[in-house]
């Protein structure tokens, strides 16, 4: 109808939604060279030329990126792009997968996490992880949080342990909801509460980095909002790396965003820019829903 109106007006304006081939801003289309600045000042993690192989499959290709302190780094990309694989490199979770091989340099506070002297249990205390599905231990709420500090020897006595549990649950925004039922099983909580219990469990051992692998995908919008709110609070004390399929979530919670595509890190940059004016065509196609 509108087109007819335009024609009737005799203005020879033919709505087209298209522009000439040569007039648009050029965006790179090649892969293999990350667009954007991968380095930050004083990074907590510094990763360079990281390759991951699952047997013959080359899952991550020469990825280099820094993780900044007191920031949330969001990793986005389509399924199978390698973002979760890369996340799992950061606390050597891929060690547990048979046939997985990690190459390249991953420095935590300047020290190689693949160093022979590196205690993997200690590493995972420094670099905690929250998974897609809440996975509380089949123990009480109290024990879920107390377990880590106890095995790492962080509490001298019961009073100190109580203090750690109290502090961790409070920071995870769960204390008020569970303070009167600490001895009930962790599994008795709702999904969102269980996920916050897992976050409390992670922060109980004083990590420096928290990795989150789609932490809200099993939660309702209200529980998701509480976790996102919590992330904003936690990032004051910890670096957070989150893998998410929700671009809106990445835009809401992160300060930097990295886009992965078929094992390549295509683009990394300030979240403000990535979601308004990405530099790489693949990033643009993905975040505007033109992927594939």
């Amino acid at each position: 109808m509108e087109a007819a109106q335009v024609e009737r007006a005799g203005l020879n304006l033919k709505p087209s939604s298209r522009m000439p081939e040569d007039a648009a801003v050029e965006r790179p289309v090649e892969v293999g060279k990350t667009v954007g600045n991968i380095a930050v000042d004083d990074p907590i993690f510094s990763c360079r030329d990281v390759d991951v192989f699952y047997g013959a499959k080359h899952a991550i290709k020469k990825v280099g990126i820094d993780v900044a302190r007191s920031q949330v780094l969001a990793m986005i990309g389509p399924s199978g792009c390698g973002k979760s694989t890369f996340l799992r490199c950061l606390n050597r979770m891929n060690d547990t997968i048979e046939g997985a091989r990690v190459e390249g340099s991953i420095l935590l506070d300047g020290k190689d996490i693949h160093d022979r002297k590196q205690d993997v249990v200690q590493l995972r205390a420094r670099v905690g992880m929250v998974f897609q599905k809440p996975n509380p231990f089949p123990k009480s709420i109290y024990e879920n949080v107390a377990y880590g500090p106890r095995i790492h020897g962080l509490a001298g006595d019961r009073v100190e342990l109580d203090e750690i549990v109290h502090h961790s649950l409070k920071r995870a925004g769960l204390w008020e909801e569970v303070k009167d039922r600490l001895q009930q099983p962790g599994t008795s909580l709702s999904g969102g509460q269980q996920q916050r219990l897992c976050i409390a469990r992670t922060i109980a051992v004083n990590p420096e980095v928290i990795l989150m692998d789609e932490p809200c995908s099993a939660l309702d919008p209200i529980a998701t909002a509480r976790i996102e709110d919590l992330m904003e609070e936690l990032r004051q004390s910890y670096a957070i790396v989150i893998v998410t399929h929700s671009m809106q979530q990445a835009a809401r919670v992160s300060q930097r965003t990295a886009y992965f595509h078929l094992g390549d890190l295509i683009e990394v940059g300030e979240t403000d820019r990535i979601f308004t004016n990405p530099r790489h065509k693949l990033t643009e196609d993905y975040i505007t829903g033109r992927f594939g």
């Binding site: 304006l13 939604s17 522009m19 648009a24 801003v25 300030e270 403000d272 004016n277 505007t288 829903g289």
Partner: protein, 238 residues
């Protein structure tokens, strides 16, 4: 590489975006007609043409409201990102520019319809000629800006942005008004009235220029953290 508002995995999104785009272009076509008709009404002191301008003004306002509502729906339902987000925001702004350009056309019509002893001054032959000339250039600018907007063509938009013909014509017209007023004090009031009309036509050109800048915003390279939402090289006139 070409920029297209189409190509989404969700094809309904393509439809929503191109419908917004097409409606804005259609509204623009109506605005050009309004400008031309208003200039004719003023220069020919034609009350029926001026009445038609006011009647059609309602349609322009309806377009404005409908497109704004549709843009809101696209944002709420599709959560556009990157170029799509820029396009929705820019289309909404283009529509506002068009609506304001139509308002300027309305001022010309109102001048004709408020023709009384104390308000409204029928232009003499020279003023009518100047209004026609400014109106022609202003309508051309709106048309060129709309064509750039239709094709999302930043090169064409840049031409509109740099067009100074209307500014020169306006400055020359103003000089003539001042001269006329200085020569004959009885013409001061009519010269002021005519200057307001010329000013309205000049502002239509400003709105065309702003539309061109919104085209650059959709397709252009910019740093939102450094410049807000507009390209770094421009500042939109209001």
């Amino acid at each position: 590489m070409s920029l297209s508002l189409e190509g989404h995995t969700t094809r309904a999104f393509d439809g929503d975006l191109s419908s917004l785009h097409v409606q804005a272009v259609a509204m623009g076509a109506l605005v050009i007609e309004q400008v031309q008709l208003a200039v004719n009404a003023y220069s020919g002191w034609d009350r029926s043409a001026a009445t038609l301008v006011l009647d059609r003004e309602r349609k322009i306002n309806l377009y404005d409201a409908e497109i704004e509502e549709a843009a809101l729906q696209v944002i709420a339902r599709r959560q556009p990102m990157a170029q799509d987000l820029r396009a929705v925001i820019a289309i909404d702004k283009v529509v506002t520019e068009l609506e304001r350009a139509a308002d300027e056309a309305k001022r010309l019509a109102l001048a004709v319809l408020s023709d009384t002893e104390f308000a409204g001054f029928r232009p003499g032959a020279a003023t009518a000629r100047e209004a026609r000339q400014l109106g022609r250039v202003a309508a051309q600018m709106i048309r060129a800006a709309l064509e750039a907007f239709d094709r999302l063509d930043p090169a064409a938009a840049a031409v509109v942005d740099q067009d100074t013909e209307l500014d020169s014509e306006y400055a020359a017209a103003l000089r003539r008004m001042i001269t006329r007023a200085m020569e004959d004090a009885r013409q001061v009031q009519s010269a002021i009235e005519a200057a307001f009309i010329m000013r309205s036509l000049e502002r239509i050109g400003d709105h065309a220029r702003n539309i061109a800048r919104h085209v650059a915003f959709i397709v252009g390279d910019f740093d939102p953290t450094a410049t807000g939402v507009l390209p770094s090289t421009v500042a939109v006139k209001t």
